[in-house]
Symmetry: C2
Subunit: 309 residues, 2 copies
DNA sequence: ATGAAAGCGCTAACAT
DNA sequence: ATGTTAGCGCTTTCAT
């Protein structure tokens, strides 16, 4: 009787409204959902809350635009946590789940899918049975490589994530392909692995201390960019650099960091679109959407090789 | 019969387990909650997802440590959205709510409190009936002021948030008090207001173009710090600066940005502690916890006034 | 136009 | 040790 029905007497209506505000009645959403059979809620499991998450913001906006509530959880970049978060959302019977997959094996999702839960992965794929939206990693690396070539660099190094991580693998692979396509040498130039200062230091040593040293660096993610800049310190203006993935303060650095920027707005909106489409038609074919990236020139990627200035 | 009871026959137990994995049965959390009478979930409403949120991470950790599930929503820094988020959590009958209050009036919470919902505010207070945990804003400004004085600055400017925002008001007030206590002049030195480039440009003009110009700046939040650094550009090494609130890349800048850092770990844990204490004893007195801040010296705050070097 | 009853999926308290 | 039942708070259907 609370739901604004058309067939309710005005006297009763006002009495009810009076009671409502007198008791500050708020309906129990769980009971409503249980009875109604739908939760009007979608869940988002993201890798981290402590770093900014523009995609999550976009997901929240798109969710609200679709008259749904967003329930966010963090996976702390941990496979086990991801499982817990996603399963917990399943038990809450959300109407759909978007998530950033961590590991490689997502078989635990099969029962959920079987049960009709719409699921969309973003940033990384989560297997053949799950829709996903990814950035165009290969094109991004290609753009970066071309920009540096254009400015005269012939020895370009890559420092990025572990190749077992999907994005790390894609970007390192694309880098090798770019170099090969241009007839360059990979010797001492490719450094995938965990992003910690010691490994980055060793990688920089190899790349810059080579007998024909790198004059430019492409970094595979924001964490790598930051660590490389930190270690280069005052030297950082002497080697050209392009980072994969933009971050808020990249333009405050001197020189400003040229980056291959992803498009969080499109990624987020596409993820929700895919989710809604999947919910509407559970048997539609699985889709992988690739979102374009773009180069933002801020100076560091436009430096000439040293000795040519 | 699913809940690992002690009084269940082994044969039945195994048959049930078989059925469970055969059907991939997952209990409906909402029905469980409804029946059980408790949600074992706490809600967190934060101002933004797009900027990193170390406190939220800590809240998530503390929540998990207490065997509870965290349900996060974003308020997009909007009073209306805050209301919606918090009320939505109430309708889901979470066991408690932590949130970052936006506006000044939080009367809409009174019914929730009346109904026994434990609520804790952090970063800003939300009225006399709500526990809260705040950073020591006044002490932070005092520390910054002292550091700059110590390095010879006599003309120090403050550029921060609008004073109608709680933290903005506290920090601007503490700045005025510091200057007054040291017998300095405030003329042209205090600039609270919205953080947009035009206003910041005007403020810098006033402070640095004064007949006895500022030789140092204290910024009231991270956004102000970033905007000031951006506008100072290459000049940024010529004026000393201390920012309120640390941010991830402050140390990559040159000079590194000296900051008054808040303590997200303590803030987050304290918020959850307060929440649990309030849930355990609804009639305990309201508490305001003040969390200490600390100075991180990175160079920008240790510059001498120009002309004295 | 209003009231009564059934049932969403579960758990707890009962009866066997 | 197992099976049955009532009821959490709601919405929907069916009778009045």
């Amino acid at each position: 009787v609370v739901n604004e029905d058309p067939k309710v007497g005005p006297d009763l209506a006002s009495r009810v409204r009076a009671a409502i505000s007198a008791l500050d009645y708020q309906p129990d959403e769980r009971a409503q959902q249980l009875r109604r059979g739908t939760s009007r809620t979608i869940g988002a499991a993201v890798r981290s809350f402590s770093e900014g998450h523009p995609v999550l913001r976009e997901i929240e906006l798109a969710t609200r635009a679709a008259k749904l509530t967003l329930l966010a959880m963090s996976t702390e970049d941990d496979e086990q946590r991801e499982r817990e978060a996603v399963l917990s959302m399943g038990r809450r019977r959300v109407d759909g789940i978007v998530f950033e997959p961590i590991g490689r094996n997502h078989d635990y999702l099969l029962p959920e899918i079987e049960a009709g839960m719409p699921i969309v992965a973003f940033d990384r794929p989560a297997g053949l049975y799950i829709d996903c939206v990814l950035s165009d990693n290969a094109a991004g690396i290609g753009i970066a490589y071309r920009q540096l070539s254009l400015h005269g660099h012939r020895r370009i190094a890559y420092i990025g994530d572990d190749e077992r991580i999907f994005t790390g693998g894609e970007r390192a692979g694309a880098f090798r392909a770019s170099v090969a396509a241009n007839g360059g040498s990979l010797d001492g130039m490719v450094h995938p692995g965990p992003i910690d200062s010691r490994r980055i230091a060793a990688a920089l040593d190899k790349a810059l201390g080579h007998e024909t040293p790198a004059t430019a660096i492409i970094t595979g993610n924001a964490a790598a960019s930051v660590e490389v800049i930190r270690q280069l310190g005052a030297e950082s203006g002497r080697v050209a650099m392009i980072g994969f993935d933009d971050f808020p303060l990249a333009e405050l650095l001197r020189p400003g960091l040229t980056v291959v920027a992803q498009d969080p707005a499109t990624i987020g909106r596409t993820a929700i679109d895919l989710l809604i489409a999947r919910a509407a038609d559970p048997k539609r074919p699985i889709q992988s959407m690739i979102v374009p990236v773009r180069l933002i020139e801020r100076g560091s990627g436009e430096l000439q090789p040293i000795g040519r200035t």
